[in-house]
Symmetry: C2
Subunit: 155 residues, 2 copies
DNA sequence: AGATCACTTAGAGTTAACTCAAGGTCAAGA
DNA sequence: TCTTGACCTTGAGTTAACTCTAAGTGATCT
């Protein structure tokens, strides 16, 4: 079974422009053509695209994705590089998750801050509250999202 | 206590250029100046920068960060908008974490795939293995990272 | 006094990743 | 046969977020 560029664009929520751009950049090496020059995507091409999309979601730049795809074309001599690359990428993703979880602390603190400000009617009221009088878990969020800083103003 | 642009750049791992760019874009509304025009960052400015950095880490574009900072300047009338924004941003971060965790499945599958290919000496060998003969947890990773597709080729 | 160094501005240049426009081809249906 | 619609190419334009250059100022060290 093969698909046209339009069908693939639809299925993967990419624009036709983007797919052609990827091919130009060497990001779609598995795409074949009909004799009249029309692209056709077979299962190999779709699997390749799935991997590209996966790596894109990890925020890997297209030029790095291309390096990987070039290794794929080179054959078994690059198996080790490719394996190492996926292990590195795994770590990169774990790091990103950890960072997002860190930023959640400040966001959760701000959610509490604005909820309280709205209850009290003004930001000034909530700013008067010393750190020690905030709920325990909010104190923790504050400390963890503000490093070792002492209490200062909040915007 | 106040800091110069160079000290702040160093502390926050940003370039001086970037800080000036942020100010130009309205992203640093709390920065004051000396009579001779030199920027000085006080605690308010640093706290603002901390929030900016936090929002940047959630992949919020600078123009959206600016909208928030403008609301901060407008006073208590915008408290609700600001709260809602943080709740939305919290959800956005949770979604990003979930997506990264999804992509980990394909990455983990690929780690196994290349480990096995290296053990067997070639990619062709591993591709011969039918899905059913792979370890249980790898079968799961494969299925979860490939949607409802039947087994096709892997690159 | 002169050098050095961190600061200032305005504005140009860069990079990544698209995104689009113009002009053309090709195959299928009325 | 003509039209429609999806495809094609080349090349230009866009956007975000920097990043840098040139030319100049101001404070401090020797």
């Amino acid at each position: 079974m093969t698909y046209s560029i339009g069908q693939v664009a639809e299925q993967y929520n990419l624009s036709i422009h983007t797919l052609r751009y990827y091919e130009k950049e060497g990001i779609l090496p598995f795409v074949k053509r009909t004799p009249s020059g029309i692209r056709k995507f077979d299962d190999d091409a779709l699997e390749g695209l799935r991997v590209v999309e996966c790596l894109k979601k990890t925020n890997m730049p297209l030029k790095d994705i291309k390096v990987f795809l070039d290794w794929c074309q080179e054959g078994n001599g690059t198996l080790e590089k490719r394996r190492d690359m996926f292990y590195e990428q795994k770590q990169a993703v774990l790091d990103q998750i950890a960072e997002l979880q860190e930023t959640l602390k400040l966001i959760d603190f701000k959610c509490w801050y604005y909820d309280s400000a709205l209850e009290l009617g003004s930001e000034e009221e909530i700013r008067k509250i010393p750190l020690e009088e905030m709920p325990e878990e909010i104190q923790e969020l504050y400390r963890e999202s503000h490093g070792e800083f002492s209490q200062d103003s909040m915007e």
